[in-house]
Protein backbone atom coordinates (compact mmCIF):
# COMPACT_ATOMS: atom_id res chain seq x y z
CA UNK A 1 0.00 0.00 0.00
CA UNK A 2 1.47 3.33 -0.99
CA UNK A 3 0.67 6.76 0.33
CA UNK A 4 -1.82 7.59 -2.47
CA UNK A 5 -3.91 4.53 -1.68
CA UNK A 6 -3.99 5.46 1.98
CA UNK A 7 -5.17 8.94 1.11
CA UNK A 8 -7.82 7.58 -1.23
CA UNK A 9 -9.12 5.09 1.30
CA UNK A 10 -9.36 7.81 3.91
CA UNK A 11 -11.16 10.12 1.48
CA UNK A 12 -13.65 7.43 0.50
CA UNK A 13 -14.38 6.51 4.08
CA UNK A 14 -14.69 9.92 5.68
CA UNK A 15 -15.18 12.35 2.81
CA UNK A 16 -16.00 15.80 4.07
CA UNK A 17 -15.32 14.99 7.71
CA UNK A 18 -11.60 15.17 7.07
CA UNK A 19 -10.26 18.67 6.79
CA UNK A 20 -7.32 17.98 4.56
CA UNK A 21 -5.00 15.24 3.36
CA UNK A 22 -1.50 15.98 2.22
CA UNK A 23 1.04 13.77 0.55
CA UNK A 24 4.18 15.82 0.46
CA UNK A 25 6.16 15.39 -2.70
CA UNK A 26 9.42 16.74 -3.80
CA UNK A 27 9.14 20.37 -4.72
CA UNK A 28 5.41 20.53 -4.23
CA UNK A 29 4.20 23.79 -2.85
CA UNK A 30 1.27 23.67 -0.55
CA UNK A 31 -0.88 26.74 -0.38
CA UNK A 32 -0.94 28.30 3.02
CA UNK A 33 -4.55 29.49 3.09
CA UNK A 34 -5.94 26.07 3.74
CA UNK A 35 -8.27 25.00 6.45
CA UNK A 36 -5.67 24.92 9.14
CA UNK A 37 -3.24 27.65 8.27
CA UNK A 38 -0.63 26.56 10.77
CA UNK A 39 -0.26 23.20 9.07
CA UNK A 40 2.39 24.10 6.67
CA UNK A 41 4.29 23.16 3.65
CA UNK A 42 6.57 20.17 3.44
CA UNK A 43 8.71 19.69 0.42
CA UNK A 44 10.95 16.65 0.33
CA UNK A 45 9.58 13.56 1.92
CA UNK A 46 8.52 10.19 0.71
CA UNK A 47 6.12 7.83 2.41
CA UNK A 48 4.50 10.52 4.50
CA UNK A 49 0.77 11.27 4.72
CA UNK A 50 -0.62 14.09 6.81
CA UNK A 51 -4.30 13.99 7.66
CA UNK A 52 -5.91 16.93 9.40
CA UNK A 53 -9.10 16.02 11.22
CA UNK A 54 -11.39 17.79 13.68
CA UNK A 55 -11.30 16.45 17.21
CA UNK A 56 -14.76 14.86 16.88
CA UNK A 57 -13.70 12.34 14.25
CA UNK A 58 -10.16 11.89 15.58
CA UNK A 59 -10.87 8.58 17.22
CA UNK A 60 -12.87 7.28 14.26
CA UNK A 61 -10.06 8.03 11.86
CA UNK A 62 -7.52 6.34 14.09
CA UNK A 63 -9.77 3.34 14.52
CA UNK A 64 -10.14 3.06 10.75
CA UNK A 65 -6.41 3.35 10.23
CA UNK A 66 -5.55 0.85 12.94
CA UNK A 67 -8.22 -1.73 12.41
CA UNK A 68 -8.98 -1.54 8.70
CA UNK A 69 -5.78 -0.33 7.11
CA UNK A 70 -3.41 -2.07 9.52
CA UNK A 71 -1.48 0.91 10.82
CA UNK A 72 -1.28 -0.70 14.23
CA UNK A 73 2.03 0.74 15.28
CA UNK A 74 2.15 4.08 17.04
CA UNK A 75 5.52 5.56 16.25
CA UNK A 76 5.00 8.55 18.46
CA UNK A 77 2.44 11.09 19.47
CA UNK A 78 3.57 14.67 19.17
CA UNK A 79 1.96 17.30 21.30
CA UNK A 80 2.43 20.89 20.33
CA UNK A 81 1.41 24.25 21.70
CA UNK A 82 0.82 26.82 18.97
CA UNK A 83 -0.07 29.42 21.61
CA UNK A 84 -3.64 29.43 20.22
CA UNK A 85 -4.39 25.75 20.18
CA UNK A 86 -2.86 22.53 21.30
CA UNK A 87 -2.21 20.08 18.53
CA UNK A 88 -1.99 16.36 19.10
CA UNK A 89 -0.67 14.24 16.30
CA UNK A 90 -0.09 10.51 16.43
CA UNK A 91 2.31 9.14 13.86
CA UNK A 92 1.12 5.72 12.80
CA UNK A 93 2.53 2.91 10.72
CA UNK A 94 5.67 0.89 10.20
CA UNK A 95 6.47 1.73 6.57
CA UNK A 96 4.41 4.75 5.57
CA UNK A 97 3.99 7.28 8.32
CA UNK A 98 0.45 8.57 8.60
CA UNK A 99 0.32 11.64 10.80
CA UNK A 100 -3.17 12.39 12.07
CA UNK A 101 -3.35 16.00 13.13
CA UNK A 102 -6.00 17.30 15.39
CA UNK A 103 -6.31 20.40 17.50
CA UNK A 104 -8.03 21.12 20.76
CA UNK A 105 -8.79 24.18 22.82
CA UNK A 106 -6.05 25.42 25.08
CA UNK A 107 -8.41 26.12 27.97
CA UNK A 108 -10.14 22.79 27.76
CA UNK A 109 -7.62 20.32 26.40
CA UNK A 110 -9.60 17.11 26.28
CA UNK A 111 -9.28 14.33 23.75
CA UNK A 112 -10.29 10.69 23.74
CA UNK A 113 -7.59 8.12 24.26
CA UNK A 114 -6.42 5.61 21.68
CA UNK A 115 -4.85 3.20 24.15
CA UNK A 116 -7.85 0.86 23.85
CA UNK A 117 -6.86 0.25 20.23
CA UNK A 118 -3.08 0.41 20.59
CA UNK A 119 -1.86 -0.35 24.12
CA UNK A 120 1.59 0.84 23.13
CA UNK A 121 0.29 4.40 22.86
CA UNK A 122 -0.19 4.62 26.60
CA UNK A 123 3.19 6.09 27.36
CA UNK A 124 3.00 8.69 24.64
CA UNK A 125 -0.32 9.97 25.90
CA UNK A 126 0.94 10.20 29.43
CA UNK A 127 3.93 12.13 28.22
CA UNK A 128 1.72 14.67 26.47
CA UNK A 129 -0.50 14.85 29.51
CA UNK A 130 2.50 15.62 31.62
CA UNK A 131 4.20 18.14 29.41
CA UNK A 132 1.19 19.91 27.89
CA UNK A 133 -1.69 19.14 30.20
CA UNK A 134 -3.90 17.36 27.68
CA UNK A 135 -6.44 15.08 29.34
CA UNK A 136 -6.99 11.85 27.49
CA UNK A 137 -10.46 10.58 28.29
CA UNK A 138 -10.56 6.88 29.02
CA UNK A 139 -6.85 6.51 29.68
CA UNK A 140 -6.36 4.05 32.56
CA UNK A 141 -3.72 6.01 34.41
CA UNK A 142 -2.85 9.62 33.89
CA UNK A 143 -0.61 10.42 36.84
CA UNK A 144 2.02 13.03 36.23
CA UNK A 145 5.07 11.10 35.33
CA UNK A 146 7.91 12.83 33.60
CA UNK A 147 8.42 15.89 35.70
CA UNK A 148 10.27 15.42 38.99
CA UNK A 149 8.57 14.84 42.32
CA UNK A 150 7.23 18.02 43.81
CA UNK A 151 6.61 19.71 40.48
CA UNK A 152 3.84 22.33 40.86
CA UNK A 153 0.33 21.52 39.65
CA UNK A 154 -0.87 23.11 36.41
CA UNK A 155 2.61 23.97 35.23
CA UNK A 156 3.34 22.32 31.93
CA UNK A 157 6.89 22.73 30.68
CA UNK A 158 6.14 22.50 26.98
CA UNK A 159 3.46 25.19 26.98
CA UNK A 160 4.60 28.41 25.42
CA UNK A 161 4.02 30.52 28.50
CA UNK A 162 6.41 28.42 30.58
CA UNK A 163 9.79 30.06 30.69
CA UNK A 164 12.54 27.63 31.63
CA UNK A 165 14.18 28.37 34.91
CA UNK A 166 17.19 26.58 36.23
CA UNK A 167 17.04 25.18 39.76
CA UNK A 168 18.95 27.05 42.46
CA UNK A 169 22.32 25.70 43.58
CA UNK A 170 22.35 24.01 46.95
CA UNK A 171 25.71 25.32 48.03
CA UNK A 172 28.00 28.18 47.30
CA UNK A 173 30.56 27.47 44.64
CA UNK A 174 33.87 29.04 45.42
Amino acid sequence: MDENKVAEALKNKFGEKILKIMIPKKGEEIAKDLVIPEIMEIKVSKRRVFVAVPAEVYKEVIRYLVEELGFNHVQAITGLDTSKFIEVMPHLGRGITVTVKTRIERDKPVLSTITDMVPGASLHEREIHDLLGVVFEGHPNLDRIIVPEGWPENVYPLRKEYAPEQPKPLREVS
Binding site: P148, P157, Q166, P167, R171, V173
Partner: protein, 140 residues
Protein backbone atom coordinates in the same frame (compact mmCIF):
# COMPACT_ATOMS: atom_id res chain seq x y z
CA UNK B 1 49.40 7.37 59.50
CA UNK B 2 51.76 6.97 56.61
CA UNK B 3 50.77 3.37 56.11
CA UNK B 4 47.13 4.37 55.95
CA UNK B 5 47.86 7.07 53.41
CA UNK B 6 49.91 4.67 51.37
CA UNK B 7 47.05 2.18 51.38
CA UNK B 8 44.48 4.83 50.55
CA UNK B 9 46.45 5.98 47.55
CA UNK B 10 46.76 2.49 46.24
CA UNK B 11 43.27 1.24 46.62
CA UNK B 12 40.69 3.76 45.44
CA UNK B 13 37.43 1.90 44.88
CA UNK B 14 35.01 3.63 42.60
CA UNK B 15 31.28 3.95 42.71
CA UNK B 16 29.91 5.10 39.42
CA UNK B 17 26.78 7.21 39.53
CA UNK B 18 25.04 8.58 36.48
CA UNK B 19 23.00 11.64 37.34
CA UNK B 20 21.33 12.00 33.97
CA UNK B 21 24.18 11.74 31.51
CA UNK B 22 23.88 10.91 27.85
CA UNK B 23 25.79 7.64 28.38
CA UNK B 24 28.87 8.74 26.54
CA UNK B 25 30.83 9.41 29.72
CA UNK B 26 29.50 6.22 31.27
CA UNK B 27 30.74 4.02 28.51
CA UNK B 28 34.10 5.75 28.67
CA UNK B 29 34.28 5.12 32.41
CA UNK B 30 33.51 1.48 31.71
CA UNK B 31 36.00 1.40 28.87
CA UNK B 32 38.68 2.51 31.31
CA UNK B 33 38.25 -0.82 33.09
CA UNK B 34 38.64 -2.96 30.00
CA UNK B 35 41.83 -4.55 28.69
CA UNK B 36 43.23 -1.62 26.75
CA UNK B 37 43.18 0.78 29.70
CA UNK B 38 42.77 -1.55 32.69
CA UNK B 39 42.31 0.66 35.74
CA UNK B 40 42.86 -2.33 38.01
CA UNK B 41 46.57 -1.78 37.52
CA UNK B 42 46.27 1.08 39.98
CA UNK B 43 44.20 -1.00 42.37
CA UNK B 44 40.98 0.59 41.20
CA UNK B 45 37.89 -1.57 41.47
CA UNK B 46 34.37 -0.68 40.46
CA UNK B 47 32.03 -1.38 43.36
CA UNK B 48 28.28 -1.69 43.40
CA UNK B 49 27.45 -0.65 46.93
CA UNK B 50 28.09 2.90 48.18
CA UNK B 51 29.16 1.44 51.52
CA UNK B 52 32.21 -0.14 49.91
CA UNK B 53 33.42 2.77 47.81
CA UNK B 54 35.96 5.54 48.35
CA UNK B 55 35.55 7.61 45.23
CA UNK B 56 32.23 8.68 43.78
CA UNK B 57 32.53 9.09 40.05
CA UNK B 58 29.65 11.21 38.82
CA UNK B 59 28.76 11.58 35.17
CA UNK B 60 26.15 13.79 33.64
CA UNK B 61 24.20 16.91 34.52
CA UNK B 62 22.38 16.65 37.83
CA UNK B 63 18.64 16.58 37.25
CA UNK B 64 16.10 17.70 39.82
CA UNK B 65 14.76 14.20 40.32
CA UNK B 66 18.15 12.62 40.84
CA UNK B 67 19.45 15.24 43.26
CA UNK B 68 18.02 13.63 46.41
CA UNK B 69 19.33 10.23 45.43
CA UNK B 70 22.74 11.69 44.77
CA UNK B 71 22.81 13.23 48.22
CA UNK B 72 21.65 9.99 49.77
CA UNK B 73 24.34 7.97 48.07
CA UNK B 74 26.92 10.57 48.99
CA UNK B 75 25.83 10.31 52.63
CA UNK B 76 25.89 6.54 52.54
CA UNK B 77 29.53 6.47 51.63
CA UNK B 78 31.93 6.06 54.56
CA UNK B 79 34.55 8.72 55.23
CA UNK B 80 37.04 9.59 53.83
CA UNK B 81 35.27 9.96 50.52
CA UNK B 82 36.11 11.80 47.34
CA UNK B 83 34.12 12.96 44.37
CA UNK B 84 35.25 13.10 40.78
CA UNK B 85 33.10 14.94 38.26
CA UNK B 86 33.52 13.37 34.84
CA UNK B 87 32.49 15.25 31.73
CA UNK B 88 31.58 18.82 30.95
CA UNK B 89 27.89 18.32 31.74
CA UNK B 90 28.74 17.23 35.22
CA UNK B 91 31.16 20.07 35.83
CA UNK B 92 29.00 22.93 34.62
CA UNK B 93 25.84 21.62 33.02
CA UNK B 94 27.52 21.77 29.62
CA UNK B 95 25.09 21.97 26.72
CA UNK B 96 22.27 21.49 29.18
CA UNK B 97 23.04 24.63 31.11
CA UNK B 98 19.84 26.65 31.23
CA UNK B 99 17.52 23.67 30.99
CA UNK B 100 14.70 23.79 33.52
CA UNK B 101 15.44 20.42 35.01
CA UNK B 102 19.22 20.53 35.30
CA UNK B 103 21.44 21.98 38.01
CA UNK B 104 24.35 24.20 37.14
CA UNK B 105 27.01 21.69 37.98
CA UNK B 106 27.88 18.99 40.43
CA UNK B 107 29.72 21.34 42.75
CA UNK B 108 26.53 23.27 43.33
CA UNK B 109 25.28 20.14 45.11
CA UNK B 110 28.24 18.39 46.73
CA UNK B 111 31.92 19.27 47.08
CA UNK B 112 34.03 17.97 44.23
CA UNK B 113 37.68 16.94 44.49
CA UNK B 114 38.65 16.46 40.86
CA UNK B 115 37.25 17.49 37.52
CA UNK B 116 37.69 15.57 34.28
CA UNK B 117 36.63 17.68 31.35
CA UNK B 118 35.77 16.52 27.87
CA UNK B 119 32.58 15.59 26.13
CA UNK B 120 33.06 12.75 26.70
CA UNK B 121 36.55 12.54 28.18
CA UNK B 122 38.62 9.76 26.72
CA UNK B 123 39.46 6.86 29.04
CA UNK B 124 43.01 8.18 29.26
CA UNK B 125 41.61 11.45 30.59
CA UNK B 126 39.56 9.62 33.18
CA UNK B 127 42.62 7.72 34.36
CA UNK B 128 44.46 11.01 34.45
CA UNK B 129 41.66 12.45 36.57
CA UNK B 130 41.87 9.62 39.07
CA UNK B 131 45.63 10.02 39.21
CA UNK B 132 45.24 13.76 39.74
CA UNK B 133 42.92 13.04 42.63
CA UNK B 134 45.49 10.70 44.13
CA UNK B 135 48.23 13.31 43.73
CA UNK B 136 46.06 15.84 45.51
CA UNK B 137 45.56 13.32 48.29
CA UNK B 138 49.23 12.63 48.55
CA UNK B 139 50.00 16.31 48.90
CA UNK B 140 47.37 16.88 51.60
Amino acid sequence: MNLVKWARLRSPWLLHFNTGACNACDIEVLAALTPRYDLERFGVLLKGSPRHADVLVVTGPVTRQVKDRLLRIYNQMPDPKFVVAVGTCCISGGVFNGCYNVYQGLDSIIPVDAYVFGCPPKPEAIINGVVALLKKLEAS
